[in-house]
Amino acid sequence: MSQPIDLSDALLLRRMMAGDEDAFAQVYRRTHPAIYRFALHMTGNAGVADDVTQEVFMTLIRNPRRFDPARGTLGGFLFGIARNHLRKRWEQDRRLVPFTGDADDLGDTVSGGARAAHSASGNGAFGNGNGHSRTVTGPDELVLGESIGRLRQAISTLPENYREVVVLCELQEMTYEEAASLLGCPVGTVRSRLHRARAILVEKLRDPRPARRASVVGE
């Protein structure tokens, strides 16, 4: 099967509006991993990340004309929708506390379909950082897994606006400019938030006590 031609976002959207499923599939393949991982890192829950991803693209399918290529990229547009959905969810259900307790979805081994790559990469080997890993192959990996688990938990305790810059600039490896564009704030703000967030993370990882969820959202 031939590779699909790489078309611009606007053209793909026009074709999608005309009922072209392949065009939508191309848009989805191109943009959904970043949206999904953003939601996953922001919530710490794979199910919620699935739901948010679905809601984001449902919004795009139902209101494609809301996207204006002159105002930014399609990826940025979708990130904005994802942020809005996440905020609504947090407002509606404060019980969704990310990355807490033993239910760490990010560390769970999942099965089937698109999760195969994830499972194959060994993510499932390092669960929630509590030492109950199933396929540990050595002490170094155990230590690393524990470190990663603590890091996930520490990130989850960051205030939302700090967590966003950590996810975007560190986990999604965006530049300050890209993150600023997505978040709609100056580059200096992104930089200062990241500076503060990293300081908090270092502090939490240095502290052997379990991280507590932050109660204050602010600079």
Binding site: M58, R62, G112, R115, A117, H118, E170, L171, Q172, R198
Partner: protein, 237 residues
């Protein structure tokens, strides 16, 4: 270089620490100076180690999550939604087309109605007669007289009363019952000789190109029922 090394203090080091491995930033440009400062400052060296550990952990976490994607059911649900939206859009399109056709038909009706009222047919006028004479492709011109009574003979008699130069009406082969001619009309037309012959009239000299005046009896639905010849003399009168 030495100047740069000595100029960097702990506060500046702390400011750029997060950017040492971030290309395109000021911290990346001052990386060598920062490393030099860390060599001379134990506290900043410790901060750098902690920052590098955090960077390593973050990169490891990012690498582990890099391949994760949404569950396939999400894609299935979205494709189904695309189909639903597509069907909905096509239904809207059909509705718009029907509406446009309706509007176009209404406009045509209004236009036709207004034209009919603006240019009413001039019954019995010279213009209508000229028009009938020039319109050779259609044997029917403006109506000039009401249909005579019930049967063909009576109509022929009544017409013959108008002018002795006119022949009797001859019923056309596919004509309906002459009793059904109530409400029809008689129109005067100019026909070629072959056309007259095709209607069953006794015509000679079929090769001639001249046109012969004739009266045609039309039924109420416009179908020709009978025909008679009219002499040129009666026309001149």
């Amino acid at each position: 270089m030495n100047e740069e090394r000595t100029s960097m203090d702990c506060a500046q080091f702390g400011e750029i620490l997060q950017d040492l491995d971030r290309p395109g930033t000021e911290g990346f440009a001052l990386r060598r100076s920062a490393l030099a400062h860390a060599e001379s400052c134990g506290r900043c060296a410790l901060r750098m180690i902690e920052a590098e550990s955090l960077d390593f952990a973050l990169r490891t976490l990012a690498a582990r999550e890099a391949e994760r994607q949404a569950h396939p059911r999400v894609a299935r649900a979205l494709v189904e939604e695309v189909r639903v939206q597509s069907r909905s859009a096509s239904r809207h399109g059909v509705r718009w087309q029907l509406a446009a056709l309706g509007v176009a038909a209404a406009l045509l009706l209004v236009l036709g109605y207004s034209l009919r009222h603006r240019f009413p047919p001039a019954a019995g006028s010279d213009a209508a007669r000229d028009s009938a004479a020039n319109h050779t492709s259609s044997p029917i011109a403006a109506p000039v007289a009401p249909v005579p009574d019930s049967n063909e003979d009576q109509s022929a008699d009544s017409q013959s009363n108008d002018s002795d130069d006119e022949t009797a009406f001859v019923s056309l082969p596919y004509a309906d019952d002459p009793n059904a001619l109530d409400g029809g009309a008689v129109v005067r037309v100019l026909l070629t000789r072959p056309a007259l012959a095709s209607l069953g009239l006794p015509v000679t000299d079929l090769g001639s190109a001249d046109r012969i005046p004739a009266d045609i009896v039309l039924s109420e639905d416009g179908a020709p029922q009978a025909i008679r010849l009219v002499s040129q003399a009666s026309l001149d009168e």
